[in-house]
């Protein structure tokens, strides 16, 4: 069927801010889909509140609205833009829900807007639990049997029909408390009785227990003619019970025979056909490990994280094909872009093995529970490709950038067998390391299998790696052994450590004997057809097929690896834009990255894509083949920066700012010299290694002081200390990981925090604008609400900032981007931190000023000057509207995580509020972050003593807004004394009703809780904050944020929001 001619203008809904479970994969999908639509001559209107995305670029869509994703806003945009269709299946669950709401309210019909792709009826059938279950039953596809019961007898009777074990889930209890797994009637009665009592509605769901079954996924495509194919199947190494986003996943499945593979494949096709899905769809199965029994766990009638992974694992561009299908094309009409010869109506076949590992945020949330459950916790992931499973696993481990490079990276050797087996019961991110240790201790496969339910085939593969470790330690280090270790992807550093020689010796032995990596192509077809797509992975057991090219100029762009807190999608934005800019300037571009969720790892972004770990050795393998004329590291975050030294040793020139200048910005002493020379003040401080030294410096400066390691991301490990005791505590935490660089102790200054991103060509600088943080210093810049243009500082301060930026950029010989953070105390400006590279605010400031600074920085790196690029150097004219960047958190996903804001970054994403006035922009920013108040007009205030004065003012404003204020004893007294009516509530340990009961009553809009200094000092506060987050109550821990929210609510009105097409935005 050819393209539907009625579709001319399509609105695409994005997924909004990055949160756990909904991340960069939707930028990848959305970007691919928009490009695919534009290719067909369709006018694309894009809506997404996330400014850090590539999809919100002016090149990607025709009209771009970075507006809050609510139905009201979407309705307004539809009225303004009058699209004939909307495409909701590319924006994750958020986009899908919005599309459904618009459809169900009748708005789409009354405005003659079609829902493209899968129909609303289909989405309902797939999303509604009961409707889905009924549909599955109708076509004979099994779901796990379940029943809601209200008494023990019913529960027992039902369980007798489905068999033990069963999972019990009480309705409406916090975090699933009171639930459990019952293996026999005795356990069932006990848990059920307790669960019924705890459940607020006296109901418990009894469900067939499928934990421990194999979790298998299929990615399926179907077109309007009913043709369907499976793109890929994937096997979770962790069995059912761990969210697939947190599992180690392998593609294709490894332990299924063709009978099981085809049984589930046929089921997936039956399901997608019955649901009448057109586009992409993900079907998850639980497969009994010792029978042909299976259950359908879930169907996602849209592109998903798994579909991004499947696209990268196979080379089949799911989102692109889904967009074409939405336009009416059938699979046999869409060309396979990789081969150019075959069509989208074929199933990719792999001749390699793919492993995905989750990037979990436990290094950021050290108080959080590491346990992995059905609630996803990973912020990002890495993927690796190799000709064997062991190699793919080894590559994935070192791609994580979590100080791990082999199965010994977490040491459990101290544990005896019994302790080890007990430790193995715990399902967490370290379990494979525990299994490895168990194998070292000679524990048999069956014992490990019985505890973990990880298939013996995978256990054997881990054993092969453990055996290789042992061989390297104990056997003569022969060439044969080296070859085998490299085939299993042991890095030189690990081999050297195990053999007990220097890494350079391993490398020398390799090179002398020609044991070098070769590169194979990902081509969707296992070499059956010729492919020209330069998408490569490395292995040590094959002939190299990476095509040697000798273009006039070749540049290596280093990606930013897995998405983590502090290094998010922004850096992928920068890498992709830099790649495009180099390409435009005539360079051949080569990208190295390992993140399957991102746009940068789409095979048509750079001239060549290497899907590889970002370690010096892996990068060197590519450098040896590609021999680039230079590498650019300033766009890929810390991941790329960390490779600078190694690249220079390989003889690859660093384009742009030189490595020694990057060092100068990070090295305390060198930097102090530069500040002295440029006469720029900074907070006094010193560098230390030990707690004793730290205390000396702190006492010299006077408390409070800021303590942090150098060369870190997102303020990791950064703390404000107010006493010697805290210094000791923080230093101990920081030094848990061996520090290559000194620790910084600075005087803590309280003032306005300001930030600039600038381009410097060696002579002139270009500052698109100054951003001002709403929260005072002490809250990490990534977690602060950021306002452009800076709204409360004087022109003099602005001039000072521009001048300091110019001086610093010049002194550091910056060629390209620089990011500087300042504190203004009165009219005085201090520098906090300088990063001669791209930053998290680059996409935001580029979009809201219309100045494409990554492109400009790239041109500057190539040799152009700012003037040649048509810009007048200096601070650019301010825009005549306000753009506010609001951080978005995923605290509800990480149980036990401390949510209070501080110098360490905790947000996972951001959204934008842009409007003509500050107040409207602020309102939009809060709305975009999901804070849509008022609802019940009740709030709780509980603040530390130092904050009571400010809390009174805030209380007064909320009281005026009609809020009923509850407060704990001392806060209530302070409020009441000042004439702000506050109802006193009991603390947690006191008798009911306490502050907890109030929160759990679901009638509270907002909790303002400022934590007392330091960690774990106040269990009460911690509990209040956690409970708020877990019950969906907004919780604010910084008074400045609370004030901003009050301002936003005070200015809320029912007028329609002003909509701004970001494509038209410019500063001059």
């Amino acid at each position: 069927m050819p393209k539907n001619p009625d579709v001319r203008k399509v609105m695409v809904i994005g997924s909004g801010p990055i949160v756990i479970g909904q991340a960069a994969e939707f930028d990848y999908a959305g970007t691919q889909a928009c490009r695919s639509l534009k290719e067909e001559g369709i006018e694309v209107v894009l809506v997404n509140s996330n400014p850090a995305t590539i999809m919100t670029d002016r090149d990607i869509a025709d009209k771009v609205y970075i507006e809050p994703l609510t139905t009201k806003v979407l309705e307004q945009i539809i009225e303004k833009e009058k699209p004939d269709s909307i495409l909701p299946t590319l924006g994750g669950q958020a986009g899908l829900n919005l599309g459904m709401e618009l459809e169900e309210s009748g708005f789409l019909a009354s405005h003659h807007v079609k829902l493209l792709g899968t129909t609303a009826a289909t989405i309902r059938k797939a999303e509604d639990r009961q409707a889905f279950k009924d549909t599955m039953e109708k076509i004979g596809e099994p779901c796990a049997a379940s029943l809601v019961v209200e008494n023990v007898a019913d529960g027992v009777a039902f369980t007798n029909t489905i068999g033990y074990p069963v999972v019990l889930r009480p309705a409406y209890t916090l975090g699933g408390s009171g639930g459990g797994i019952a293996h026999n009637q005795l356990e069932l009665e006990e848990i059920l009785e307790n669960g019924l009592r705890l459940s607020r509605v006296g109901q418990v769901l009894v469900e067939r227990c499928i934990a421990g079954w194999k979790e298998i996924e299929y990615e399926v495509m179907r077109d309007s003619a009913g043709n369907c194919i499976t793109v890929c199947n994937m096997e979770n190494i962790d069995p059912v019970g761990v969210h697939t986003g947190d599992s180690i996943v392998v593609a294709p499945s490894q332990t299924l025979s063709d009978k099981e593979y085809q049984m589930l494949r046929t089921s997936a096709l039956n399901i997608i056909s019955e649901l009448n899905i057109t586009g992409g769809c993900n079907v998850q199965f639980a497969l009994h490990p010792t029978s042909f029994e299976y259950c359908v766990i879930e169907v996602n009638p849209r592109v998903s994280r798994s579909s991004a992974l499947a696209s990268k694992a196979t080379g089949y561009p799911i989102a692109k094909v889904a967009a074409k299908i939405a336009l009416g094309y059938t699979l046999d009409e869409i060309k396979n872009a990789i081969t150019g010869k075959t069509y989208a109506s074929f199933e990719p076949t792999l001749d390699y093995c793919v492993v995905k590992m989750p990037r979990l945020p436990f290094d950021k949330f050290i108080t959080a529970k590491r346990t992995l459950t059905t609630q996803m916790k990973a912020t990002g992931e890495v993927m690796s490709i190799c000709t064997n499973f062991e190699g793919a696993l080894m590559k994935a481990i070192r791609s994580l950038e979590q100080h791990v490079d082999c199965l010994r990276s977490y040491d459990f050797s101290e544990l005896d067998t019994e302790a080890l087996l007990r430790r193995m019961q715990k399902v967490d991110d370290q379990r494979i390391y525990v299994i490895a240790e168990a194998l070292r201790k000679g524990i048999d496969y069956d014992t490990i299998y019985n505890i973990t339910r990880i298939d013996r085939w995978f256990i054997d593969k881990i054993a092969i790696l453990v055996e290789m470790e042992h061989a390297l330690e104990t056997q003569p280090f022969t060439l044969e052994l080296l070859k085998e270790a490299k085939r299993l992807e042991f890095p030189d550093s690990v081999i050297a450590r195990l053999v007990g020689i220097e890494e350079s010796e391993v490398k020398q032995m390799r090179y002398e004997n020609h044991v070098t990596a070769s590169f194979k192509m990902v081509d969707t077809c296992a070499a059956e057809f010729e492919a020209s797509t330069p998408y490569y992975y490395s292995c040590y057991d094959g002939i190299n097929e990476a095509v040697e090219t000798k273009p006039p100029k070749k540049v290596l762009v280093l990606g930013s690896g897995p998405i983590r807190i502090g290094q998010g999608i922004e850096f992928d934005y920068c890498s992709v834009h830099a790649t495009w800019a180099f390409s435009k300037a005539g360079y051949e571009t080569v990208i190295i990255n390992n993140n399957p969720e991102t746009v940068s790892t789409d095979f048509d972004i750079a001239d060549k894509l290497y899907f590889e770990p970002l370690t010096p050795e892996d990068v060197e393998n590519i450098v040896n083949i590609e021999k680039p004329d230079g590498a650019v590291v300033q766009f890929g975050g810390q991941t790329a920066i960390k490779l600078t030294e190694s690249l220079m040793k390989m003889g690859v020139p660093i384009l742009g700012t030189k490595a020694e200048d990057v060092d100068a910005a990070e090295d305390r002493e060198l930097f102090d010299k530069i500040l002295e020379k440029t006469q720029i003040p900074r907070a006094a401080g010193g560098t230390v290694y030990t707690a004793e030294e730290a205390k000396t410096v702190a006492n010299r400066l006077g408390y409070p002081v800021l303590v942090r390691p150098s060369y870190v991301l997102g303020g990791q490990g950064m703390q404000i200390a107010i006493s010697d005791k805290e210094i000791e505590e923080f230093m101990e935490i920081i030094n848990r990981i061996a520090q290559d660089h000194p620790i910084l102790v600075d005087k803590y200054l309280q003032g306005k925090e300001l930030e600039v991103d600038a381009v410097c060509d060696g002579t002139d600088i270009l500052i698109p604008g100054i951003m001002e943080h709403i929260e005072r210093t002490g809250v990490h810049s990534g977690d602060s609400i950021s306002v452009y243009p800076a709204h409360t500082i004087t022109n003099k301060v602005k001039e000072t900032i521009a001048e300091y930026t110019r001086r610093l950029a010049k002194a550091l010989h910056v060629k390209g981007l620089i990011n500087i953070q300042f504190i203004a105390v009165g009219e005085e400006v201090f520098v906090i931190e300088v990063n001669p590279r791209s930053s998290r605010t680059v996409p935001y400031i580029s979009k809201v000023t219309g100045i494409p600074i990554v492109d400009l920085a790239t041109e500057v790196i190539i040799g152009k000057t700012i003037r040649e690029l048509g810009y007048e150097p200096g601070l650019q004219k301010e825009a005549d509207y306000v753009a506010i960047k609001m951080p978005v958190f995923s605290f509800e996903k990480i149980r036990g995580a401390e949510i209070s804001l501080g110098p360490e970054m905790k947000s996972t994403g951001e959204c934008l509020g842009i409007a003509k006035t500050f107040n409207e922009a602020l309102y939009k920013a809060f709305l975009g972050a999901g804070i849509d108040l008022p609802r019940h007009k009740r709030m709780i205030i509980t603040v530390k003593d130092a904050d009571k004065g400010e809390a009174i003012e805030i209380g007064r404003r909320f009281e005026k807004l009609g809020y009923t204020i509850y407060a704990t004893r001392s806060t209530a007294k302070a409020l009441n004394d000042a004439g702000v009516k506050a109802k006193k509530v009991n603390k947690i340990q006191q008798e009911s009703p306490t502050v907890m009961d109030l929160i759990l009553g679901h009638k509270i809009d907002l909790v303002i809780d400022t934590p007392t200094q330091g960690r774990d000092k106040s269990r009460d506060g911690f509990l209040i904050r956690r409970t708020s987050i877990e019950t969906g109550v907004n919780c604010i821990t910084a008074l400045d944020t609370a004030k901003a929210l009050a301002t936003s609510l005070e200015n809320k009105n029912d007028n329609p929001l002003t909509l701004i097409n970001i494509v038209t935005v410019q500063t001059s």
Partner: protein
């Protein structure tokens, strides 16, 4: 032990010896299925060939005897990148290593199978030798390789005597319906193993008798009919048309098989006689090619054939595309079809080659791909139902006219 794969063009791959310790000369082909190595090994169509699996990890789930498509493996040799040292699957009876050794199949592991595949793709299928002789002499070997032909392999793989299979009387005989298999721990612990799940949801073939000509049949062809309730008589490839016609079957099925269809000269003569009757006929793969040759069409050898489980075929009547299981090196020449005799029913979406024919004025349709799957997608299994429907409507036609 070291092993070598020597190709007709002089390329030598060095790897590790697997399976039986004997030298073998054969035609080297590649298969792109990611699972189903046992089904590939036991597909008689591979007689006279050595198969290279493009998926690198083979043997992961061991050997499940239930999944064999014939009584023994047929390829002359087996070429893989890595044989799993351990296997894991609840039905696995033993390892692939043991299977290859016991069945005297030599092979080679640890070679760059992708590089081999690329050579075959570029230069076309060619002959090769698997040997463990480190002193091999290329000048002696290459003429031997060039001289090798698969020859008349159908005779080697067909059954020696006819045999009968009783159709299923009720669905439960087929094992659990796919998706409804229940796990009973006690049974499992007692050693009871699950049967393969069945896709067949009704016995629409009950009371129908099919004569199945075995040219190297995969068991699931007979099984697909049997599970639908058809009684099946399997005949050796050399059976005369007269014997089959005398048995008065309701329908005739021509199976898959190995080799160059043009070598099957006497079989083609008999098939022409079957064509001339009014008995409905359904043919798969070699059977499809033989019917084409019997009715005046032509076949030719493809550069490197279609072998795998991901080939899209388009039903020209409906426009629907199905992913199919394939294993063929020869194909019917569409340019030389006489539309008065046969018209294309299916084509391959990738390369446009013929994948099936309708015979004009006849109750005959034939496909190049494998609706019986095993290994591969089951998407086109409905063709067996189409065959049964064709038989039924032909019967009605007959009774109406009588």
């Amino acid at each position: 032990m070291k092993a070598f794969l020597i190709l007709e063009d002089g390329t030598v791959f060095e790897g590790t010896h697997i399976g039986a310790d004997r030298e073998v000369v054969s035609e080297i082909v590649f298969n792109t299925s990611m699972a189903g190595y046992l089904e590939v090994l036991t597909d008689p169509s591979y007689a006279g060939q050595a198969v290279c699996m493009t998926y690198p990890l083979i043997g992961n789930y061991g050997i499940c005897i239930d999944d064999m498509e014939s009584k023994k493996p047929w390829p002359d040799g087996f070429i893989v990148r890595e044989l799993s040292r351990n296997f894991s699957n609840f039905r696995a009876d033993f390892s692939i290593q043991q299977f290859l050794e016991e069945n005297h199949i030599p092979g080679i592991a640890g070679i760059d199978t992708r590089a081999l595949t690329k050579i075959l793709r570029k230069k076309g299928t060619m002959n090769g030798m698997i040997t463990t002789d480190e002193q091999y002499k290329l000048d002696k070997i290459l003429p031997r390789l060039k001289a090798y032909t698969t020859g008349k392999v159908v005779e080697k793989v067909t059954c020696k005597e006819k045999y009968k299979l009783k159709g299923s009387q009720n669905l439960s005989e087929n094992g659990a319906l796919s998706g409804s298999a229940k796990f009973v721990l006690a049974d499992y612990e007692a050693g009871k193993r699950e049967k393969k799940p069945s896709l067949v949801k009704n016995l629409n073939g009950a009371g129908i008798h099919i004569a199945l000509l075995d040219f190297g049949m995969k068991d699931n062809i007979a099984d697909s009919l049997k599970r639908r309730g058809c009684d099946v008589t399997v005949y050796p490839a050399t059976t005369s048309a007269a014997e089959i016609i005398d048995a008065n079957p309701d329908g005739i099925m021509l199976s898959n098989g190995p080799g160059d269809p043009k070598e099957c000269t006497s079989i083609i003569v008999e098939i022409k006689k079957l064509y001339d009757t009014n008995i409905p006929i359904f043919a798969i793969c070699l059977g499809h090619q033989l019917m084409a040759l019997a009715t005046g069409a032509d076949t030719y050898k493809m550069k490197y054939g279609h072998r795998g489980g991901n080939h899209p075929v388009k039903d020209l009547a409906t426009g629907r595309v199905y992913i199919s299981s394939q294993n063929h090196g020869y194909v019917v020449d569409m340019d030389k079809l006489d539309p008065n005799v046969a018209t294309p029913a299916f084509i391959n979406v990738n390369d446009g080659t013929n994948e099936g024919l309708y015979y004009t004025g006849k109750n005959i349709f034939t496909v190049q791909f494998h609706p019986e799957a095993c290994c591969g997608p089951q998407d086109s299994s409905f063709l067996f139902d189409r065959f049964i429907d064709m038989i039924k409507s032909a019967k009605m036609e007959v009774s109406k006219n009588a």
